[in-house]
């Protein structure tokens, strides 16, 4: 021991305290060569000048790490530490070593560890600040927090998921130290949102519809399914349950691989939970709990769970596989009744034996009650009360003094697809605890809500090719009103144009049935033509074979949404005339609205502008059900320009309304005078790419988008967003004339 101590060459008193313990562990875990390397590494860490913590953490952690990964993982770990030491991030060494043991427990292989180290080092090099570009001088703000969270993160995420999560944080908060710390210490909302997205296993959100269909199809039941989070509550593991408000299920289920190697998918685990709950809802009637002890209640719950599962399996025999794979199968001799409370163990074995016809438990009491259980159920459905009586008999028969011991055997006794049975019990007496006094608490009046709550939309980040979840907040409202007469005046000014348009409109109006004559194949014989051709035939000439006709309906069925960009730049004077772009837009929109009203197509107008991602405003000017009347005109007259253009979000929100319209064709027109931009987006491509993405999404929804750009320099970006579906109007003074014509050409 003394030689080892000399080799360690340290004078930290804290190390001396734990030295012997560490060495005993190391001696059993490590080979002599490994031991040597261990002491050498510890010595180096002691001489780093970072205090005692790195050395202490390493000495305690390494033997168990080496046990999992093998000794030869040491060099790569030491390389990482040296890299940290050389950069300004020396303060991260201690948390790195402190969490190394739990992290390796999750990773299980050197390869995985190497990935983890790569992520860490990459993170470090990308967030370490520098002044004037070349010297790394400021330590990475988020690294220590990240390392502290690492064990938790790896419990939730696979390494690939971890990489994505880290990547997201670096990209979005790389230049913002406080926010970066929030993100990596899991304090910020989007940090949690991205975590949730990257989790391994079957996410509830992905299978919600399937589960709903499952309930309806197989069980003729349906209820609101509410997920609860399993990620952040480590101590009090929540359990599925149901109440008046719905069925609560976890937000994620990992695939389950039983000891026999049977693979149960996350979806099937959800189904098992739902089937169990359906069983309760069908067959369990609540019992009065007051007179029973907790042990008795536990046994009754277990018997009842087994009863409904037996009935469920009667309905669908295939469920037996799922239940048996998910149900733990405790070994009979695993619990020592002399020293431990074996109650849970006994009940778990019994529960297993109820479900598994080929169990190999020898206990006579157990076998007796399994037989009685099946006998009771053999007669029919039985009932909660009858099975409770059986459970009480079992408790009376098998009670042991050791059941009261504080040391309770827990291993293999939790059946995780079962709910907490809260619906099984009725309590007659109110409890005399403090809650009784809480009834009279006053409900504080909340502030009046102004306007509608915000809607959140994701935004596309082209660099990572992912969505930023719930990134943008959009507030919608009715556009304030002005003076409707202004618009009438504008329309009067364009009287001549209106007449011209009216002629075009008349041609466009739908005529429902169109007869198509002279068809070789058609639905009906066209007698006139047929007789003519028959005469030709008789006269020896070549008859015309096109003697049929058919009908075609030409109904117009288009819903239109006109989206106006109301950003600041609209206030500028248009080139070549003395009106502002805003005024010209008003004129153009009025004429267009008038024209569409004449055509009778469903039509809505909305405007948008934005002031950072937290405040995108969407203003309704005309709804689909409103007519082109004074109210709409008044809103249009009050149009004002301000702020910036976050186009993608506005597109998504407008699509939300247009999508709800029932029409064969859906057309969204966007009238804008500049490229998408916002004050909080430094990268100018970002919002362009997002808008492009939004256009693609709309395309999937069957919405045709078309952009009318008033920006003479638009060619540089507009085709990136809208493909070929745009027109640039250079001569803005002719906009009032061009817009309605354009619309008609589009919808001809």
């Amino acid at each position: 021991m003394q030689t080892y101590w000399t080799q360690l060459d340290t004078r930290f008193p804290q190390v001396a305290e734990v030295f012997e313990d560490c060495m005993t562990e190391a001696l059993t875990a490590l080979t002599p060569g490994g031991l040597n390397a261990y002491l050498e590494a510890a010595r180096t860490l002691g001489k780093l000048g970072r205090g005692v913590e790195p050395m202490l953490a390493f000495m305690e952690a390494w033997p168990s790490v080496a046990n999992v990964l093998g000794e030869d993982a040491l060099p790569s770990v030491m390389t990482s530490i040296r890299a940290m030491q050389k950069s300004p991030n020396g303060n991260a060494i201690a948390p790195f070593l402190q969490t190394l043991a739990p992290v390796t427990k999750r990773l299980q292989s050197q390869e995985q560890l190497q990935h983890y180290l790569d992520i860490t080092l990459d993170f470090m090099s990308r967030t370490t600040g520098s002044i004037h570009g070349h010297h790394a001088t400021h330590p990475s703000p988020g690294l220590p927090d990240f390392l502290q969270q690492a064990p938790f993160l790896l419990r939730q995420l696979a390494v690939a998921g971890l990489r994505n999560w880290v990547e997201y944080g670096i990209r979005n908060y790389g230049k913002h130290p406080e926010r970066q710390r929030d993100y990596f210490s899991l304090q910020s909302a989007d940090s949690r949102a991205v975590l949730q997205r990257e989790r391994h296993g079957t996410l509830f959100a992905d299978v919600e519809r399937k589960l709903d269909l499952y309930l309806r199809a197989l069980w003729q039941d349906s209820d609101h399914l509410v997920p609860y989070s399993t990620a952040f509550d480590e101590v009090r593991k929540p359990v599925p349950y149901y109440d008046k408000l719905g069925i609560r299920v976890p937000d994620v289920f990992d695939d389950f691989i039983s000891t026999e190697g049977v693979h149960i998918s996350g979806l099937d685990r959800y189904r098992a939970v739902l089937a169990h709950i359906v069983g309760h809802r069908r067959w369990t009637c609540a019992q009065i709990a007051d007179n029973w002890s907790p042990f008795q209640r536990m046994a009754v719950e277990l018997f009842e769970d087994a009863r409904i599962e037996t009935l469920l399996m009667r309905e669908y025999p295939g469920l037996r596989n799922t239940f048996l794979s998910l149900h733990p199968s405790p070994r009979e001799d695993a619990c020592d009744a002399e020293t431990t409370s074996c109650l849970r163990h006994r009940l778990a074995m019994l529960s297993r034996a109820f479900l598994d016809p080929v169990h190999d438990y020898k206990d006579p009491a157990l076998n007796e009650f399994v037989a009685r259980f099946h006998e009771t159920l053999g007669k029919g459905l039985s009932s909660t009360a009858e099975i409770a009586a059986l459970a009480l008999a079992y408790v009376a028969k098998t009670r042991r003094p050791s059941d009261q011991f504080a040391k309770i055997y827990f291993k293999d006794t939790v059946v995780d697809y079962r709910d907490d049975n809260r619906q099984m019990w009725k309590f007659i007496e109110q409890s005399d605890e403090e809650e009784a006094f809480e009834d009279k608490r006053k409900i504080e009046h909340e502030e009046e809500i102004k306007g509608l709550p915000p809607r959140h939309y994701p935004e596309w980040d082209y660099r990572s090719q992912t969505y930023r979840p719930d990134w943008v907040s959009l507030y919608e409202a009715l556009h304030p009103s002005g003076n409707a007469a202004d618009i009438d005046r504008l329309l009067a000014k364009h009287d001549a144009l209106a007449k011209q348009l009216k002629r075009m409109l008349d041609q466009l109006k739908p005529q429902d049935k169109v007869r198509i004559r002279y068809q070789e194949e058609g639905s009906e014989l066209d007698l006139d033509v047929a007789i003519r051709s028959l005469i030709d035939f008789k006269g020896g000439a070549l008859p015309d074979p096109r003697i049929n006709m058919s009908h075609r309906t030409s109904g117009r069925n288009i819903a239109v949404m006109l989206l106006l960009d109301l950003s600041q730049s609209l206030n500028e004077k248009a080139a070549g005339c003395n009106q502002s772009v805003l005024e010209l837009s008003q004129e153009a929109v009025s004429l267009l609205a008038w024209a569409i009203e004449k055509l009778g197509d469903p039509f809505a107008i909305a405007g948008f502008h934005s002031n950072t991602r937290h405040d995108v405003r969407y203003l309704h000017i005309k709804g689909y059900r409103e007519h082109w009347g004074d109210e709409v005109k008044a809103r249009l007259a009050a149009m004002e320009a301000a702020y910036s253009t976050r186009m993608g979000t506005a597109l998504r929100h407008a699509a939300h309304y247009l999508e709800a319209q029932q029409a064969d064709k859906k057309l969204m027109l966007i009238l804008t005078d500049g490229e998408p931009s916002d004050v909080d987006a430094q990268d100018e491509r970002l919002l362009i790419e997002d808008a492009h993405r939004a256009v693609k999404e709309l395309d999937h929804k069957g919405i045709y988008t078309y952009c009318i750009s008033l920006d003479p320099k638009a060619d540089g970006y507009v085709s990136d967003i809208f493909g070929k579906q745009y027109v640039v109007i250079d001569n803005i003074s002719r906009l009032p004339e061009r817009l309605p014509r354009l619309f008609m050409e589009l919808t001809k």
């Binding site: 399937k210 269909l213 309806r216 199809a217 197989l218 979806l267």
Partner: protein, 267 residues
């Protein structure tokens, strides 16, 4: 004259009555009242009509209606020949002349202006005017008109005119209850009742999804297909997937749910 014998139903079709429909139909036929049979697809409408034709010993002329069908497809049309034109009777005219039961299947599929031509045959007149030919046909005393349609489509465009509806007596059919359907499957295909019962159970789970993503549940006809496949030695799960699930939906979620129902039923 067309050969009457070819329209006779030769062999007794298997039909399991769900209620009093057989006796009621016989009464309607005695009085030559037109009959309408409503119900979801594959619940046995056509089989019922076939069975009644056999039981009454009358010829049966079936017309499957479609959107492109015109009045002349029912009544008849002129054909051109080398030395002029020739009139060819349509199925409705043929039935009226020979005294057959004329069965217009899925009548709503035909356009509404087409269906109007049956009106004079359905009331006290019992005549069919052939305006193109200038002839008025008196219906044969044995002639009866039967139409069927599926009200499940719930489309405004595909409904019968009131003036058409109110010329018929009507039967409302639905899928038989579980026990009866099991018997039908077993009898029709010779499958054992236990397996047939399982098939019926899967069918019912799909019927629960009607209007939650499925337009129609699994029909008795599809269950018969599945039973036939199983009887032929196909593994039950494969047979169910092929005959019950794949035909009715393209929705991946529903397909997965029904596949699960199959796995949970056949172990």
């Amino acid at each position: 004259m067309t050969n009457k014998g070819q329209y006779k139903v030769q062999k007794e079709p298997y039909y399991q009555a769900q209620g009093k429909e057989v006796a009621l139909y016989e009464a309607a036929y005695r009085n030559r009242l037109p009959v309408m049979v409503k119900g979801p697809t594959g619940c046995g409408k056509s089989r019922f009509v076939e069975y009644m034709a056999w039981k009454l010993g009358k010829p049966l002329i079936t017309v499957a209606c479609n959107e492109d069908m015109t009045a002349s497809d029912l009544v008849g049309r002129y054909l051109l020949e080398t030395n002029g034109t020739r009139w060819l009777d349509g199925p409705l005219t043929t039935a009226a002349r020979m005294g057959a039961i004329c069965y217009l299947d899925e009548i709503v599929e035909a356009r509404q202006d087409t269906t109007v031509v049956i009106h004079p045959l359905t009331d006290h007149r019992r005549t069919l005017p052939l305006d193109k030919k200038g002839e008025l046909i008196e219906a044969h005393p044995d002639f009866q008109l039967v139409i069927s349609y599926n009200p499940g489509y719930q489309s405004l465009m595909k409904d019968l005119k009131q003036s058409t509806k109110q010329r018929f007596t009507a039967f409302d059919f639905d899928y038989p209850n579980a026990d009866l359907e099991t018997v039908i499957l077993a009898r029709e295909t010779g499958l054992d009742e236990a397996t047939a019962g399982k098939l019926v159970k899967i069918g019912q789970s799909a019927r629960n999804l009607k209007s939650h993503g499925l337009d129609e549940g699994i029909s008795t006809r599809l269950l018969v297909y599945a039973a036939t496949l199983i009887k032929d030695g196909v593994e039950p799960r494969d047979a169910c997937r092929m005959a019950l699930v794949r035909p009715i939906t393209d929705d991946a979620d529903i397909r997965e749910t029904l596949d699960h129902a199959i796995d949970a039923t056949f172990i």
